[in-house]
């Protein structure tokens, strides 16, 4: 492929998990402050770890598949994107799973509302048996 291969892979990860917001109500972007407070320390720690590993020669990147744009401490821009994209994917998944288990995804809430409306309708119906 080409030097955008790493970035394209990150884009695919985002494209795959963004639908979790509308589908499962994983609305992490509606909580920008909480999101920033979550991501900043995590990104900082892993960025420094990455910089250390690159400086110590633990790993490096093939220039054919990366843009070659370097950030401070010799970290490729793709790595920063990774440290933001992967946590976002994880949080979207976490919120989607939580909503699913709690019965608070949009579909589940909609069904619950319809059930409640039907119960209320049946209770108020002249033919329905009303206790008391």
């Amino acid at each position: 492929m080409n030097r955008f291969e790493y970035l394209i892979l990150m884009g695919l990860c985002v494209a795959l998990t963004i639908p979790l917001q509308p589908l499962f109500g994983a609305r992490i972007c509606r909580r920008p402050r909480r999101l920033a407070r979550t991501l900043l320390p995590v990104v900082a720690v892993f960025y420094l770890w990455d910089a250390l590993a690159i400086a110590r020669g633990h790993w490096w990147f093939d220039r054919r598949y990366a843009t070659g744009v370097e950030l401070p401490l010799g970290v490729p821009i793709e790595e920063l994107v990774f440290f933001i994209v992967i946590p976002l994917c994880a949080l979207l998944t976490f919120e989607a799973v939580r909503n699913l288990l709690a019965g608070t995804t949009p579909v589940q809430l909609h069904r619950a509302r319809r059930r409640r409306a039907r119960t209320a309708h049946d209770a108020g119906h002249p033919g329905a048996r009303v206790d008391g």
Binding site: Y6, T38, R56, H58, W59, Y65, A90, V97
Partner: protein, 107 residues
Amino acid sequence: MGEHTALAAVSVLAVIVLEHRVLRTGVFRSIPYWITLGICVAFMVPVNGWLTKLSAPIVLYAPAARTGWRFPLDIPVEDFAFGFSLLTLVVMSWMRAGASEPHEDRP
């Protein structure tokens, strides 16, 4: 076995100690966390596998710094320790940030 392996192992221990001694979010008792970890590791295999495949690697590793064990799809085993640390730290941090905001629901 080298610095890379050691750092990956230390990161796992550091995350566990951080949870038990400092943050105490209850992340390891959270069922959504374990399900999320399972889903993310399942997706990590193709993504990480693509980055580290030996046929055309995007990320290359110094043999001296690590164990050399690769499984599955040429993924260095150290990456799973790295992945556990990153994912767990993110969920812990998210739970912590939510708990300290009065209007946020607690996980």
